[in-house]
């Protein structure tokens, strides 16, 4: 089975709010001293893929990213997490391409790989978090899809189909699908991304990292570079919220918890 996992590199989501600043002209976050990291849901997807590979002999996992030059770091990390190969598509033009453009680029890169059985993307990215790329990519590739999947297995039917478990608002659903199929991945306790071993980090430099330009994908157009035919950011601002927290009063724990209890009770009793 051949699996492609799409990875997006994003501004470190752990950047504390007090250090977060906006570049008003570019209408995006200022990079500042923050790191670029692989989006967490993409790493959850990669982890899920790697675990599936270990269950199904002959499976390969390829990481795919459309991004700026530093995106190679995300792909190297994916290789160090033991992905078998990586494809880097060099981004041109807008640093915040719309999801339709991204889906077209990813689709072209995936088609170049020949037959792919399973395409995995994160449910949403940790920067803009639009969560649109997966669905659009499924449409571009003409694949069936299921969202919010957290566990994949071979179906018990033994026909090579997959059993997909996904999270819903109320609980879980199990679905069956024949390949090729696309899934968007969400987090659960089993797909927390592994920390690469030192040895695997060293090995990652010997693994293949294929590069494509937009021209090689026959997508070098102003439309691709502009990447704003789907939508455009009109405004970006930091919300102002003024809340003053009152720490509970009292000299002893007993008194403090008493104050806390009084405050909580007054809210709860007011609900009626």
């Amino acid at each position: 089975m051949k699996i492609v996992v799409c990875l997006k590199q994003v501004l470190d989501p752990d950047l504390p709010a007090r250090d977060f600043k906006i570049d008003p002209a570019a209408k995006e976050a200022q990079r500042g001293n923050a790191n670029l990291v692989t989006n967490i849901f993409c790493e959850n997807a990669l982890e899920t893929a790697l675990q599936l590979r270990d269950k199904i002999p002959g499976t390969t996992v390829t990481a795919l990213c459309y991004g700026g030059s530093e995106a190679e770091d995300s792909l190297r990390k994916a290789l160090a997490m033991t992905a078998d190969g990586a494809i880097y598509v060099e981004r041109e033009g807008s640093s915040n391409p719309d999801p339709e453009t991204v889906a077209r680029v990813l689709a072209a890169a995936i088609r170049k790989e020949g037959e792919v059985d399973l395409v995995m993307v994160g449910r949403e990215s940790g920067d803009w978090g639009v969560g649109q790329t997966g669905g659009l990519l499924a449409e571009e590739l003409g694949l069936p899809a299921l969202g919010f999947v957290d566990t994949l297995d071979l179906a018990a039917t033994g026909d090579g189909g997959l059993r997909l478990r996904r999270q819903t608002d109320a609980g879980f659903e199990v679905a069956e699908a024949m390949t090729p199929v696309l899934v968007t991945i969400t987090n659960n306790e089993a797909n927390v991304p592994r920390i690469p071993k030192t040895r695997d980090v060293m090995m990652s430099y010997r693994k293949p990292l294929t590069k494509h330009s937009l021209a090689e994908l026959e997508l070098d157009s102003d439309e691709t570079r502009g990447a704003n035919g789907y939508y455009e950011v009109a405004e970006l601002f930091v919300p102002e919220k003024q809340v003053r927290c009152e720490m509970v009063a009292g000299d002893s724990l007993e008194e403090q918890v008493d104050d806390l209890a009084q405050r909580i009770a007054s809210v709860v009793n007011a609900i009626g």
């Binding site: 649109q132 669905g135 919010f148 609980g171 199990v174 969400t186 950011v233 724990l253 209890a261 709860v268």
Partner: protein, 322 residues
């Protein structure tokens, strides 16, 4: 007349979420001078359907039994066919997982643009603009959707419900062609069937990584019971496997806005705040007085939960009217 379509699942009925979608749809239709049409996928209870006909101008109902239990390929095909004939300016959906996964694919099939988790919709120079949070809640973004129709998954429960029109919309039955599904949902399990939905809870007692394991959630359950509330958690606690994933509140979890949200051993990362920041009163128990959660609280205590929770539970038993 141009149309704004709201796309609803019959099985979900006309509950708070559908009402929010209808409210947002009505407001946008008003701005555009458009008609509000409802597309209903799958059988819907009579009472719910008649409530809907009191707020929409027109209803197109595909009541085929095959559309009763959500199947992605079928819902998508049905939504596509029913929306296409209306040539809508916008299609609005809720933000349950079904609506979320349908949104971008439907947009693609209709030649439009999509966006999810939208909190406000407006128009500027004839273009549709949508507002939503960005950067894990640290910023607010407004997007101009360039292609028509704008297919929008809305944060439905926080949208004001639609006012009745005073008329009764006609319900037009439609039959759609359904493809052979390639993905088939074969099993459905509800984790938290008893009690109120987290999204509807008045009081939420939420626990985070600082609890250190699954056991303290049992103490929090007792506290929640005394407070007449529901339990929830941060992503860190869910990822650790201490509680089920559908307890997660935040950017990629439930969006809640109770009267009281008590955060215990939760640091208050922006992604968590995004899911509960609209709560009326937020309170926190956290050992770290500098934890970001205290910047969003009405009141709090900088103490170890192990010392606070048992004492608090006891005191509240005497203070809260049963």
């Amino acid at each position: 007349m141009s149309a704004v379509v709201i796309c609803l699942f019959g099985a979900t009925g006309y509950g708070r979420s559908a009402q929010g979608v209808a409210g947002a749809g009505r407001a946008l239709a008003g701005e555009l001078g458009a008609e509000l049409r409802a597309v209903v996928l799958g059988p819907m209870e009579e009472g719910e359907l008649s409530a809907l006909s009191g707020v929409a101008d027109r209803i197109v109902h595909a009541d085929q039994a095959e559309l009763g239990d959500y199947q992605p390929d079928l819902a998508l095909a049905a939504a596509e066919q029913l929306c296409k004939v209306s040539e809508p300016t916008a299609v609005l959906l809720a933000n349950d997982v079904y609506s979320q996964e349908v949104t971008p694919r439907l947009a693609h099939r209709l030649g439009g643009s999509s966006m999810a988790d939208v909190t406000e919709i407006s128009t500027a120079d004839g273009m549709i603009r949508v507002q939503r949070t960005a950067y894990g809640g640290k910023a607010i973004s407004v997007y101009e959707l360039k292609k028509s129709p704008a297919v929008i998954s809305t944060r439905a429960r926080s949208m004001a419900p639609a006012e009745p029109t005073g008329r009764t919309a006609e319900v037009e039955k439609a039959s759609v062609e359904l493809p052979e599904p390639k993905v088939r949902i074969v099993e459905r399990t509800a984790e938290q069937s008893e009690g109120v939905k987290l999204e509807d809870a008045d009081v939420i007692v939420s626990g985070g990584r600082g609890l250190g394991g699954p056991e303290p959630f049992e103490d929090l359950r007792v506290l929640a019971e005394v407070m007449k509330g529901q339990q929830a958690a941060s992503r860190a606690a869910c990822d650790a496997g201490w509680v089920p994933p559908n307890w997660q509140v935040g950017q990629t979890g439930k969006k809640v806005a109770p009267e009281l949200y008590l955060a215990i051993a939760i640091s208050g990362a922006s992604q968590h705040l995004l899911g509960m920041g609209d709560s009326k009163v937020i309170a926190a128990i956290n050992t770290d007085a500098d934890a970001p959660i205290f910047k969003h609280c009405s009141f709090g205590i900088a103490e170890d939960f192990k010392k606070v929770v048992p004492l608090l539970t006891e005191k509240l038993r005497g203070l809260i009217q049963p």
